[in-house]
């Protein structure tokens, strides 16, 4: 790989904290500090602080902003109240996913959209290509913002020590804008990607280090630890949150991914509506399942899933669940096998029974 990797404003802090730096989606990011399992369990029991500044941001504003977003997103956008956010998917005409996103309504005619790092520039180009004659402006703010996620049972207590914002008044998927650790203009939202309670904080890039240090200092007595992308991945998989490029992609639609709840067919028109409607009515040709294994071997991305001697699917994500202390993962399986009790997965020539889970492994 010859491309230059980007660094977040917290790169020096990661190195100082002993983070192991790896390339991820074009960025040099910490995969872990002390260990993925330790950091994972800290988030479940106390709290972890993640640098997610690699995520992208775009501001969408103008008279037609809400209508524009309703036309390109699967979820309802016009009904988001100011001060609230909503998870949505942005689809291609064939129903494949361009990205999954969180849309924050800052004002009647102004939204901030959080984009996946690997898709940020693609998303912005895609949105701009769909503006047409609508009065809407799409501003690339990827380098203006840093992002921190503070996640875990003590996250709110720690955050309350460095901000005067009334955190208790923030509902799930709600947000407030204000000062955090002396940095003005931060967006504090009760959202996350771990399955544990907590907040995501959008902050001006030049304030990131000051805020991160203040949170780490305030959190240290409460058991807050810096956490890397490794724990972020195992946490999101336990909670069955999709990761773009794995559970959703240009070839896996939100209907297939089990994200039908984000697709609002009551809207008269949005990109992908017809294809998604056909899938929802007829049933998709394949769908994503969550599974666990009674073994120590991890079924990793690409591992083949079998019904008898016939391959009926493949693993999309796999890890060890630190909470269950057994391997978990997701797989894309052909129609008719999504509740099968007969599936096996091939791990280095061994066929291990795959147990389909009906609910996420953490609530």
């Amino acid at each position: 790989m010859s491309e230059t990797l980007a660094r977040t404003p917290l790169y020096a802090l990661h190195v100082e904290l002993g983070g192991r730096i790896v390339p991820f989606a074009g960025w040099e990011m910490p995969v872990q500090y002390t260990g993925i399992i330790d950091e994972h369990m800290a988030v479940r029991k106390t709290a972890g602080l993640f640098d997610v500044s690699h995520m992208g941001e775009a501001r969408v504003r103008g008279r037609d902003a809400a209508a524009f977003l309703d036309g390109i997103m699967t979820n309802d956008m016009a009904t988001i109240r100011v001060g609230m956010a909503r998870y949505t998917v942005m689809c291609q005409p064939d129903g494949g996913c361009v990205d999954d996103l969180i849309v924050y309504r800052l004002a009647d005619t102004e939204f901030l959209i959080c984009l996946n790092a690997s898709n940020a520039q693609k998303d912005i180009a895609w949105m701009r290509s769909l503006v047409g004659h609508q009065q809407v402006e799409i501003i690339d703010e990827c380098s203006a913002w840093a992002q921190l996620a503070i996640q875990g049972p003590v996250a709110e207590k720690v955050l309350s020590e460095v901000t005067a914002l009334p955190l208790a008044t923030i509902k799930r998927f709600g947000f407030l804008i204000g000062e955090v650790a002396g940095a003005a203009g931060c967006i504090v939202s009760r959202t996350g990607y771990t399955g544990s309670p907590g907040f995501e904080i959008y902050l001006p890039a030049d304030s990131a280090e000051k805020v991160a240090r203040a949170l780490l200092a305030a959190g240290q007595p409460h058991g807050l630890v810096p956490a890397g992308l490794g724990a972020r991945d195992s946490l999101r998989l336990e909670a069955h949150y999709p990761l773009y490029g794995h559970e959703i992609s240009e070839r896996i639609s939100p209907i297939q991914a089990g994200l039908g709840w984000t697709v609002k067919f009551a809207k008269p028109a949005f990109v992908g509506r017809e294809a998604l409607h056909r899938q929802a009515e007829g049933g998709p040709s394949s769908s994503v399942i969550l599974f666990s294994l009674e073994d120590r071997r991890i079924a990793r991305q690409g591992a083949a899933v079998f019904a008898g001697q016939t391959q009926v699917g493949e693993v999309l994500s796999g890890t060890l669940s630190p909470v269950l202390n057994k391997p978990i993962g997701t797989a894309l399986v052909a129609a008719g096998f999504a509740d099968s009790r007969e599936l096996t997965v091939d791990i280095r020539g061994l066929r291990l029974p795959l147990h389909i889970a009906v609910a996420p492994f953490v609530k």
């Binding site: 872990q32 120590r296 991890i298 060890l320």
Partner: protein, 126 residues
Amino acid sequence: MSNVPADLRYTKDHEWVKVAADGTATIGITDHAQAALGDVTFVDLPKVGQSFGHGDVFGTVESVKAASDLYSPISCEVLAANGDLNNSPDLVNREPYGGAWMIKVKVKNAAELASLLDAAGYSAIL
């Protein structure tokens, strides 16, 4: 910095070999290897009596992040495999040169031992 004990031999694949005077050897993975793998969650080891040639895959070590093959540093026959790693794969992270030995073997071709790296040679490639 990684710990590289002076009394062991090494491969460029980050295995260590402790050669005994009686023609046997003990094999494991190095401190550098365990640190690079991260939390080890599973170690798949061969059965007693299995034979391997120099460079053959004799097992697998899995971490949260990846599964990695274990390569036999020498031609050998397995005399024992460390059963403690079934229940405590994390020993590999905690005691790579001690409790986390992987296999004890009979050395089939003593001449191959000369191709292993000494501690200085191994440190030089880290």
